[in-house]
Amino acid sequence: MAENVLPEHNYLKEPKGLKSWLLTVDHKRIGILYLIGISVAFLLGGVFALLIRLELLSPGATIMTADTYNKLFTLHGTVMIFLFIIPSIPAALGNFVLPLMIGAKDVAFPRLNLLSWYIYVIGTCIALTSIVLGGVDTGWTFYTPYSTQTTTQVISMTFGAFVLGFSSIFTGLNFIVTVHKLRAPGMTWFKMPLMVWALYATAIIQVLATPILGITLVLLILERLFAIGIFDPAMGGDPVLYQHFFWFYSHPAVYIMILPGMGIISELISTFSRKTIFGYRPIAFSSVAIALIGFLVWGHHMFVSGQSEVAAMVFSALTFFVAIPSAIKVFNWLTTLYKGQISFETPMLYALWFLCTFTIGGLTGLFLGTLSVDVHLHDTYFVVAHFHYVMVGGTVMALFGGLHYWWPKMFGRMYNETWGRISAVIIFVGFNLTFFPQFIMGSQGMPRRYFDYVPEYHSMHMASTVGSWVMAVGVIIMLHYLLSSLRKGEIAGNNPWGALSLEWTTTSPPSPHNFDEQPVITHGPHDYDKVIVERTIPPR
């Protein structure tokens, strides 16, 4: 059923003109606008990472001073976290697919959605201003008293993050109301695709946790401007209180990062093994459970900070508790593969990589939740490796998988499948080469945020740096074939993958109002045991 032209009425072409894009209230266009934003952020943060790894290729100063290095790791963290990963899946992919998946014409508050994007842009500009004015050197965690004393551009960067927080809150608010109120008739909660459950759980966290970050950053800014003394021990304040406030948001924030990725994995595994999800309700409920329990574990970032042993014990126990729902999901996905009809197109490759690298990330989290072991591992490269395995090996792999999966829906064209697979393999190899050695040097005692290091760690650092180059090559290849597909890609048709969720019943790209008629729900989104829908692109 291959076609050779894009559908006439599609959201990319109607309405026309730059102004119609900048004033759009179409969730699909807003998703694309976010996609551009987070891609730029990812590349910027990635360049910072490459520079960091280049400096660490050998001990001593390689290409920069210690001060520059300290700024680079701070900026890498803040750009990647606030400008890239937190908005990435919800705002770029989520905005695009959520209304389509529930059979709605748009999100509940389209104008608020556009405002969210503008707030994102303004926050980004403020953060970039901070960088241009010389950057920050506190680490993305802005721990006091260092952050109240350093002469670098702390206020502009934290103010940028503060503004970005509102973008996240409004997106979350929009998604919650959309999922509650705008589902098509017949789409009950348990007929929603798991991606929607994931976005919903994420939205709960965005709404509840981000205000705390907001107030924390305001307090930090006021501390710097007016020395209000809240975090300054010389004035009766407490620097550890800052850590509590900061992590109360920032731990749930990591679940904002991973939950949408898990939603994508559910979609990919189901579609590409053509099989109904094993354990739909456990996966759905575990998403909400992770969102809620995730609020209770922040102290595991502070086991050696001076908090009491009782507090440490409670946080350790709860940390193990929150690991269980994630493990359940991995087992459920694995079982979904059983007796499926599995194809290995690029999105599926990323889903399989996820199963491997997210598992490592999750298992190493157990090391860090174990109190006595964490004392040794805290603030070493083991932690750096752990969070990169879950954020890159988890979220970014899922993001790349979802991007390739919904690319034909968003743009009406297929990317080059051969290059897709090549690039996926390169990225997988590069990623593991970059970060696995970091586990080893971390448990060997290599501290993090170190500009220089003792010679014992040299070979691990070299391997890690080479890995970063391999990953960069993979990403550049990916960027290239994705962009060139926009002009030259094969026309995709409605349903290139033969998938069963509602977004695939409409045209690729969809019309501005999504569906010509109100969708009628005749089967569940993962019912591959009941329905076969023909693919518009044959399997590779």
């Binding site: 008293p145 456990p282 694995l334 448990s443 060997q444 591959y528």
Partner: protein, 323 residues
């Protein structure tokens, strides 16, 4: 006790290290097991249930639940993490509860070095000297920002806070040398805030204690000063080759006039150097930040004398050609 390093862990240097390592290794094997199980099954299922070339799409089985399996994969992980939690907590208590008879050493962290103060009155910088086989209690606080005292071989770490004391302890059974790192980012010199823990036999420790009071015997003052220039960390901020670093170079400054931050001029003589060591903010050279920490209590008079002799000995290369 095994003290050699393994692939993941450095040598063990303290009495608690083997216990921590045992739990770490348990975690390692557990993780390896589950990782191989999960990826192994993923690879196996992917190959076994792959779509064959040309095979049309078919309806797949409705496999949505299996009570036995689901109970198993909830109960077993729960039991395993329960074990990890209890074991980890017990180990943590061992690390947190200070033995009663521990010898107390005061640790001060500041940007960017460690200083230690021993009960007998001795002090040292960046080198923590302790007797083997005795529990040592570290009473720690910071002069400025949060630092963290980390000795990987001992498996101990604790944040060092301003205006507050935090405590850690260890017992190193064998003589040896171990790295000491700062593990909480604290600015430019965070990665240079490296020290050593020197574990000495009891006799060697006693010897060290007595000689540390009268250090520098047998060397001429400038030689002793050259040693102190390194061991007391002046080298971190002051060069001897003319380069300006965080602080002015020592090369050729003695006897010359310098301009201070308030515009006034002063000659770099013995008094100026002594004052700058003990009260560094008093006369800061123009163009430099007032960030030098004071060495009051950290340098004895005869050590300051030696440093002055050392600085005197550093002449500008140009002077020899008569510029």
């Amino acid at each position: 006790m095994d003290t050699t390093s393994t692939m993941f862990l450095p040598q063990t240097g303290s009495t608690v290290a083997p216990g921590v390592d045992a739990l770490f290794n348990f975690l390692l094997y557990l993780s390896a097991f589950f990782f191989l199980l999960i990826t192994g099954l993923a690879i196996y299922f992917s190959i076994r249930f792959r779509r064959r070339k040309g095979e049309p799409a078919r309806l797949t089985p409705n496999l949505t639940h299996n009570t036995a399996l689901e109970i198993a994969w909830i109960v077993i992980p729960t039991i395993l993490v329960g074990i990890l939690f209890v074991w980890g907590f017990k180990g943590f208590l061992k690390l947190s509860v200070i033995p009663k008879d521990a010898m107390e050493i005061k640790v001060t962290g500041q940007k960017w070095f460690w200083s230690f103060s021993y009960p007998e009155g001795a002090t040292s910088i960046n080198e923590l000297v302790v007797p083997a086989g005795k529990p040592i209690k570290l009473l720690m606080s910071s002069q400025d920002v949060i630092h963290s005292f980390y000795v990987p071989d001992f498996r101990i770490k604790h944040d060092v806070l301003p205006n507050r004391y935090s405590v850690a302890w260890f017992d190193a059974p064998e003589p040896g040398e171990h790295n000491l790192f700062c593990a909480e980012y604290c600015g430019t010199g965070h990665s240079t805030m490296i020290g050593k823990v020197k574990v000495l036999s009891e006799r060697e420790y006693d010897d060290w204690l007595s000689t540390s009071v009268m250090s520098g015997e047998g060397m001429n003052p400038a030689e002793f000063g050259a040693k102190l220039y390194v061991s007391k960390t002046c080298v971190t901020c002051h060069s001897t080759d003319g380069r300006a670093m965080n602080g002015p170079t020592f090369q050729g400054i003695f006897g010359h006039e310098v301009t201070l931050s308030d515009g006034s001029k002063v000659t770099v003589d013995e008094n100026y150097i002594r004052e700058s060591v003990l009260n560094p903010q008093a006369k800061v050279v123009m163009g430099f930040q007032p960030i030098m920490p004071t060495f009051q209590g950290l340098l004895k008079d005869h050590e300051i004398d030696a440093l002055i002799a050392f600085i005197k000995s550093l002449e500008k290369k140009d002077e020899e050609s008569g510029e």
